[in-house]
Amino acid sequence: MNRYPVWKYAIIVIALLVGFLYTLPNFFGEAPAVQVSAAKASQKVDSGTQARVEEALKTAGLTADVISLEAGSVRARFASTDDQLKAKDAIQKALVPDAADPSYVVALNLLSRSPSWLSALHAAPMYLGLDLRGGVHFMLQVDMPAALTKKAESLAGDLRTVLREKNVRHGGISRNGQSIELRFRDAATLDAAKRVLADQFGELQTVEVQEGGDYKLTASIKPQAARTVQDQALKQNITTLHNRINELGVAEPVIQQQGLDRIVVQLPGVQDTAKAKDILGRTATLEVRLVEESSEARAAETGTGPVPFGTERYLERSGQPVIVKKQVVLTGDNLTDAQPGFDSQTQEPTVNLTLDAKGSRIFKDVTRENVGKRMAIILFEKGKGEVVTAPVIRSEIGGGRVQISGRMTTVEANDTALLLRAGSLAAPMEIIEERTIGPSLGAENIAKGFHSVTWGFLAVAIFMCVYYMLFGLFSSIALAVNLLLLVAVLSMLQATLTLPGMAAMALVLGMAIDANVLINERVREELRNGASPQAAIHAGYDRAWATILDSNVTTLIAGLALLAFGSGPVRGFAVVHCLGIMTSMFSAVFFSRGLVNLWYGRQKKLKSVSIGTVWRPDADASAKAE
């Protein structure tokens, strides 16, 4: 009765093998490495980059243990931090000649020392949280009301223009918070305006109000459109953050949306938090200026002459210099939107800009006077300007809708629109949560967590072995298997391990032994009641199962609640807690039964089992003799 069919043993062996394989990378530790990734979306990191890295290392006389191309970055692993630092300098020199305009991010990192065949199996060590490896964590809140107000403002401007074009005479358009109020003299114009709105402004919903002799229309942004605005604002901010963080040279930054209006930024290994905060909190500004077209300027562009008085020299993103006048035509404040699109006639990719009322007026005048000349849109970040685009003005542009086209790919159009928005409409952000953990504290936390788990485990294992003898040994082995599987699953899922996570690991082991205690006590009880050893083992496992299931489900409910409602440290705890309960069911019941069956199952005439003292209340003497 206590025998497992072969397939059950097969499952156990497979689980152990897989568990062992995926736990293995954790033992190899980490080696210093240099990681090269792209700083710009247009930059590709491929085998060519890898060759350049190898070349750079060779000329510097350094040998890397491994150089690999993985997930869009080249990683070179070194034996010592000394080599790592030297290599970083060498690669930096070779790949990033101009520090002011980096096309690659060269960052220090730690890489697993596990052999390549393990990496090929996607077996990686557990992903350590910031509290274990040190670094910075920020949570930023995007000011959505501000984004919506801005949108309403731009829509109000559009409304004015369109109503004028359609000859609908209104008695004033004003923005009130996130809604727009339109006043009319009579009902007929109000109806006309309503038709225009329904026709051209799908994003707005209107409510009619009659106040005395006044006809009033209140337009507000439809919830659906508002969501789009918020989505865009968030994506916008995430992209901007990405660009800025590239500058910091962080190996594995995490930038994630959380909820509807929040962004989480995690920068492992970053120590200079002041700089990180400075860079994250920076705002970009946008300026529109005219390009100087004089012959002196041409000479300055090609580098053969000095930059003429009253002008400045900026670089285009392609590296092409542009000489622009110092006088600013427009700033990003006047730009309300920038979207990639397609020209309706030529089907060329375009970038479509929308200006507010004041911007449109200025733009109309400037374009009328400068047809045929070039105009530059410059993005300033940290006092450094970069020309995003410098198109030729083909005709006078009125109405505040500007289309930039020509010699652009769809990707470029997207990038340009994004950059323009970055300088103008990114909704303001605020840091609402911040955590910094020094590297020494991280290492200490790992040691603390490790010691807690180890000593706790040993204490429990020794107690089990003493109290339940061989069955206790089986239970302890099952507990070790539980730990193995838990670490394997965490490594496989690449779930973030934090200090509370390690605490959960210890706690789960403490709780998992509960199942084995239940089983062992039950077996003892059956023996006490006079069952034969084989029957006692069988009944002990069978009857304990229902109880184990019940108790694990209740614990799991608590774990799931923590997972659902917890954040930050609690989540790390909950993930390990829930996974640990799952693995404990397998190891404590299925696996330990397998061990017992293997040991005792084949003995037909089993006289006694080694499960410690089976004390019988009615026969004290016989128990002692046992």
Binding site: G438, V453, A459, E521, I557, S567, F573, W615
Partner: protein
């Protein structure tokens, strides 16, 4: 080895009233302290900035306090953290000053006073996040309570569900009472510990209830009190051994886990100790007061039982 050589069923239920009175008094004291002293909430809940600064020499807390007071921040708490060389500084959020500026300023001042001061970690939580965390914590608690009650009501009967939840919420309140009385810091990990304890100590009640159900089936002639007494007696060795094992783990955390895990482990310790007490002495007693009967659990005789649990090894044992 055998610790529990119990010859006869211990008449736990005879003293049920006494235990319930004791429980009620502890509970009342916990509630009293919760209201009179309140919980000492960590910055995660209240919002504010927390800084851990490490010195090469044992730190002079007075000097640190003085230096920060000069910056004009109000209600700043300075205390040792773990060792005498580590200092924990807690500052409430100041309107109009970003956390970045606040912690940078404080650190600059401290460095001026002692160049060896190094920042080990900072934590800033905006007030809006704090409120959310508190709300989420309560939601999680509600989710656990409702989830466990539904599960127990399905698996057993509503009376057991109510008894188990009352018994274990009473543990939770007592843990909170301890934190309020000693003004220990109540942080997110502690909250996690409290909820984990809730799930864990319900286990205890489940094990005993399982046994009560089994006994109802097996010993047709026993009355409810005797059935409960027997159930508790026959599971008590397991109860104490498992809790002991879990406590060994928690003890290891308490000893090796350092200051960060200190209160977490402490909450678990109290939870485990009171968990034993409440499931042995309180849960079953409440179930008894609620009037559990054989008929509640063993429905409609033999046929229903087979439906319940076709593999029930007790099926043959019923007389």
């Amino acid at each position: 080895m055998e610790f529990f050589k119990i010859k006869r069923d211990i008449p736990f239920m005879r003293h049920a009233l006494v235990f319930n009175v004791v429980s009620f008094l502890t509970f009342a004291a916990a509630v009293f302290f919760l209201f009179s002293r309140g919980l000492h909430l960590s910055v995660e809940f209240t919002g504010g900035t927390l800084m851990e600064v490490s010195y090469s020499q044992p730190a002079d807390l007075g000097a640190v306090r003085g230096a920060i007071a000069k910056l004009g921040y109000q209600d700043v708490q300075v205390q040792n953290f773990g060792t005498a060389r580590d200092v924990l500084i807690r500052m409430p959020a100041v309107k109009g000053v970003s956390s970045a500026q606040q912690s940078d300023k404080v650190m600059a001042t401290l460095k001026e006073a002692d160049a060896a001061a190094s920042l080990r970690r900072t934590e800033f939580v905006g007030p809006q996040v704090g409120d959310e965390l508190a709300a989420d914590g309560l939601k999680a608690l509600a989710f656990v309570v409702v989830g466990i009650m539904i599960y127990l009501a399905l698996r057993f009967e509503w009376k057991f569900a109510v008894a188990a939840i009352i018994a274990n919420l009473h543990d939770v309140i007592i843990i909170l009472g301890f934190f309020a009385f000693f003004q220990w810091e109540f942080s997110l990990p502690v909250l996690a510990a409290v909820l984990a304890v809730l799930g864990y100590s319900v286990n205890e009640s489940v094990v005993i209830f399982d046994r009560i159900r089994e006994n109802f089936r097996r010993y047709r002639k026993m009355d409810t009190v005797a059935v409960i007494d027997n159930a508790i007696t026959s599971t008590i060795s397991r109860t104490i051994i498992t809790h002991g094992s879990t406590q060994l783990m928690v003890l290891s955390m308490l000893l090796f886990g350092g200051a960060t895990l200190h209160y977490f482990a402490l909450a678990l310790t109290i939870g485990i100790l009171f968990g034993i007490y409440s499931s042995v002495f309180v849960a079953a007693a409440i179930a008894m007061w609620l009037g559990i009967r054989r008929e509640d659990l063993v429905k409609g005789g033999g046929g229903a039982r087979k439906e319940d649990d076709p593999n029930d090894p007790n099926a043959g044992a019923v007389v």
